[in-house]
């Protein structure tokens, strides 16, 4: 009988060869997050990228989907978990799994659609057939070919899965840290996006490719309120944002583990962006402290390390206030390219008309055609290209020193290190510190 290799092969640590060792020691020497100095080359070095694929992405919990995308048994979407192609599927047992989209026989992608509903995945090459739970249930001509085949050991490889208020996260099986530990203090803030009400996606995500290193948008959403008045300077003149210094007011928060959030409160005593009916709901779902913050929010940008971002944005549109919530992945597909996947999250119980409106507000401002997003991608692309062009100049560093030496607040109700002015870069420093720690560490038991 054909026996399986270990269902989840214990991956030896990749040997650290000379070249790798040299890279690591160079990073140790060049990268100084705490001092706000980051060398340009980390945004375009293929070797740094290779190291990230080994030591960052397999060592973090990564978002793959939202539960509302696969509500019914058999519903699936295909996604990437870091570099790995996976199927996120709700099995006939109602359980959500993240299955490696790689046939256990000889590696064919068993599912080639973006989404659908199925009882099983039939491999097109030799016809191995897998239930929507990942179980191998069919081997063609099993007796003639194998005599017997240990099907129980050849189900699709399953990733770790856990979820947080609708957000489905996955991780490499070897990762010891729980999602709860991984998110840590960030949960308090994630609640503002996903626990304030039962949230649902409005549909499949926009997807588009941008020639940017993945860290630039991730860091931007974690930390960078400072770019708003200039990059998005057209907004006030279009009457969408009140004025140019709008972005400054609020809180800049490092929630721990490299997760960062910026909460914009706008100018003092400005009216809430939330409809009255929703506020009641929010109050029920959140702690009083959370609710007190959410009430005053005008915008809130956040990144869950490494590459999952959230945004609440509001503006005045045709004289009326309108807000939306978006969630997006900056999925690296190369050292200089990301595939962006961007969803709109809405409160499940609001009227269809409101959902439509919030979705349109999103489309007009963020996302592939968004009037704000357009300028962001232009910046990230040029920074990436520039960093590639000065690769031979390790001395060219980027500056993340804003707020160095400022004191955090004592009294903020949420966890983490909180600063009172949004023009700050503590979050970027924390982001790169976490990044550096993972790269320099052995990344050990987290790999598959």
């Amino acid at each position: 009988m054909v026996k399986a290799e270990a269902p989840f092969p214990n991956r030896e640590k990749l040997p650290v060869n000379d070249r790798r060792a040299q890279l690591i020691s160079r990073l140790r020497q060049d990268v100084h997050p705490a001092e706000g100095q980051i060398p340009a080359y980390i945004f375009s070095s293929p070797e740094v990228y290779e190291l990230e694929m080994e030591r960052i992405f397999p060592c973090c919990w990564l978002l793959v989907a939202h539960e509302s995308e696969i509500p019914e048994p058999g519903d699936y979407v295909t996604r990437s978990l870091g570099p790995y192609p996976v199927i996120v599927v709700r099995g006939e047992d109602g359980k959500i799994r993240i299955l490696l989209n790689v046939c256990r026989h000889r590696g064919m992608r068993v599912c080639r659609a973006d989404s659908g509903n199925t009882a099983d995945f039939l491999c097109s090459y030799h016809g191995f057939n897998y239930k929507n739970t990942g179980e191998l249930i069919g081997v063609p001509f099993e007796k003639d070919s194998y005599g017997a085949f240990d099907k129980s050991q050849h189900g699709l490889l399953a990733m770790k899965v856990d979820s947080y208020h609708g957000l489905i996260f996955g991780a490499a099986p070897g990762l010891e840290e729980s999602l709860d530990q991984f998110l840590g203090g960030m949960k308090w803030y994630l609640d503002l996006y996903v626990k304030r009400a039962e949230m649902t996606v409005t549909g499949p995500p926009q997807r588009w490719a941008v020639q940017s290193n993945w860290k630039l948008p991730s860091e931007n959403f974690a930390s960078d309120a400072y770019h708003v008045p200039n990059t998005h300077a057209c907004m006030p003149s279009l009457g969408l944002f009140p004025n140019i210094s709008y972005a400054k007011f609020g809180y800049h928060i490092h929630a721990g583990n490299g997760h960062g959030i910026g909460i914009g409160t706008g100018v003092a005593d400005s009216p809430t962006i939330w409809p009255e009916t929703l506020l009641q709901q929010f109050e029920k779902n959140l702690s009083p402290e959370q609710f007190s913050i959410l009430k005053t929010v005008k915008n809130a940008h956040a990144t869950v390390f490494p590459n999952l971002s959230f945004l609440i944005s509001s503006m005045t549109y045709e004289g009326q206030p309108i807000y939306h919530t978006t969630m997006r992945l900056w999925q690296p597909v190369g050292y200089d390219t990301i595939e962006v996947a961007s969803w709109v999250l809405v409160e499940k119980d609001i009227p269809e008309e409101s959902k439509k409106k919030t979705q349109r507000a999103y489309i007009h401002t963020f996302g592939s055609s968004g009037m704000l997003e357009q300028d962001d991608t232009e910046n990230w692309i040029n920074v990436t290209e520039n960093s590639r062009r000065v690769l031979q100049l390790p001395g060219v560093t980027f500056n993340y020193q804003m707020g160095l030496g400022r004191k955090p607040m004592d009294s903020f109700p949420g966890p983490g290190e909180v600063y009172e002015c949004k023009f700050h870069e503590a979050n970027a420093r924390a982001f790169y510190q976490r990044w550096l720690d993972l790269l320099l560490g052995d990344g050990g038991d987290a790999s598959i």
């Binding site: 080639r112 659609a113 973006d114 989404s115 659908g116 409005t202 549909g203 499949p204 995500p205 926009q206 997807r207 588009w208 490719a209 941008v210 020639q211 200039n230 990059t231 998005h232 300077a233 057209c234 003149s237 279009l238 969408l240 045709e318 595939e339 709109v344 979705q359 349109r360 489309i363 007009h364 996302g367 592939s368 055609s369 009037m371 997003e373 357009q374 300028d375 991608t377 232009e378 910046n379 692309i381």
Partner: protein
């Protein structure tokens, strides 16, 4: 009106429109749109044969006259970084098919587009391919675009942003 004449007028309209967009005369382009224009680019998806591959839920564009005007206005400010310097674009319009509607003042016009987009010193260009399903309405002795549905031929768009129009 004779069918020839109609088809010729539609082609002329679409070519004229492409010319305005390709030469960055965006305000003039706006004049080609009706006040109540509906302008949509839904998502395309990779689905099993037979499944709908156009999303009825989400899209890359979902515009009315007001939002298109905002977009154009924005590009004209000093802070329209995404398209300053502008891309060099070319909208190849072909396979035009015109159909009458119940309303004598409206025609349906389907066409294919291949949008070539080059920026800066790159020798590569983004190619965006697709179909547009238009509704044209006769106004002031000429045609105006009353509705446009854009079917783009990628599930993952291969262009940095949609700071351009289709």
């Amino acid at each position: 009106m004779h069918r020839f004449e109609l088809e010729r007028e539609v082609a002329e309209f679409l070519y004229r429109e492409a010319e305005l967009l390709d030469s960055n005369r965006l305000e003039q382009w706006l004049e080609l749109l009706t006040e109540d224009i509906n302008y949509e680019m839904p998502l395309r998806m990779t689905r099993e044969r037979g499944q709908p591959d156009v999303s009825s839920q989400t899209g890359h564009f979902s515009e009315d006259r007001r939002s298109l005007e905002l977009r154009v206005k924005r590009l004209g400010t000093d802070f329209g970084w995404a398209e300053n310097p502008p891309s060099r674009t070319r909208r190849f319009i072909s396979n035009i098919r015109v159909e009458n509607t119940a309303d004598a003042n409206e025609v349906k016009a389907d066409s294919y587009f291949l949008l070539y987009r080059n920026r800066g010193s790159s020798t590569q260009a983004d190619l965006i391919s697709g179909e547009r399903q238009d509704l044209l309405r006769r106004r002031d002795g000429g045609w105006k675009l009353a509705s446009r549905l854009i079917l783009v031929d990628q599930a993952v768009l291969g262009t940095r942003n949609l700071a351009i129009f289709f």
